[in-house]
């Protein structure tokens, strides 16, 4: 198992290091990530959503659907834990 793990890890690492070559540098303001979609958030968000915190604006408005999904994930986990653990506790108690 350890050998498999090591091989998997080394292969993954090698792939990642291979990819780094074409990555933009640290803090590059002109990287595609920072120059394509996000500038518009910074410019428009306050005006359109009346929220000074842009992260909040994007989280709760532009991508609010994701955030809904996020809360559902928490709900799922909670119900999942109830499903898994609840009956056993009753069983032990009784």
């Amino acid at each position: 198992m350890k050998v498999i793990a090591l091989i998997a890890v080394i292969m993954t690492g090698a792939l990642l290091i291979y990819g780094v070559e074409d990555m933009p540098g640290w803090g590059d303001p002109n990287s595609p990530a920072s120059s394509y979609v996000s500038p518009q958030y910074i410019q428009e968000a306050t005006e359109k959503t009346a929220t000074p915190n842009i992260v909040t604006a994007v989280l709760a408005d532009y991508r609010s659907y994701d955030t809904m999904g996020e809360t559902v994930v928490v709900f799922t986990a909670a119900i999942g834990c109830i499903l898994m653990l609840r009956k056993k506790r009753n069983g032990e108690g009784g």
Binding site: M23, W26, A45, E70
Partner: protein, 129 residues
């Protein structure tokens, strides 16, 4: 060469973290250690995302002064908000996964009284399950 390495140091760090996490997930025998590996692995990815959003010399994207009027906003002075948004979601997902995983670990421990994978396998073989 050194410049190259330094200019992308964020990637090296996350790659190393991720490899550690992945190794623990696959290679460790103790189930809790596997779970910790999973958390390290997810944190590495979160670190990676957050480091994408950085712009040199920029500040947090909160526009306290600009709320009104139409004065131009200098995009370069605020960091990219999107990766942070995504990672808020991803963090929650990772916590939820950990929660479910811990719940299964409780079930496993109740059943086998151990969290060592090889011991569990031994018990299962003995009971013929």
């Amino acid at each position: 060469m050194l410049d190259y390495v330094i200019s992308k140091y964020n990637f090296w760090i996350y790659i190393i973290l991720m490899m550690i996490g992945l190794y623990a997930m696959i290679g460790k025998k103790n189930l809790v250690k596997k779970l910790i590996g999973m958390n390290v692995f997810q944190s590495a990815i979160i670190l990676f995302y957050v480091s994408i959003g950085v712009k040199a010399g920029a500040t947090v994207p909160i526009l306290s002064g600009h709320g009104h009027g139409h004065e131009a906003i200098d995009v370069a002075s605020y960091i990219n908000p999107l990766p942070h948004v995504l990672m808020l979601t991803a963090i929650v997902v990772s916590i939820a996964t950990t929660g479910i995983a811990l719940a299964t670990l409780i079930l496993i421990y109740r059943k086998y009284n151990t969290l060592e994978e090889d011991e569990i396998l031994k018990i299962r073989k003995e009971t013929g399950a």
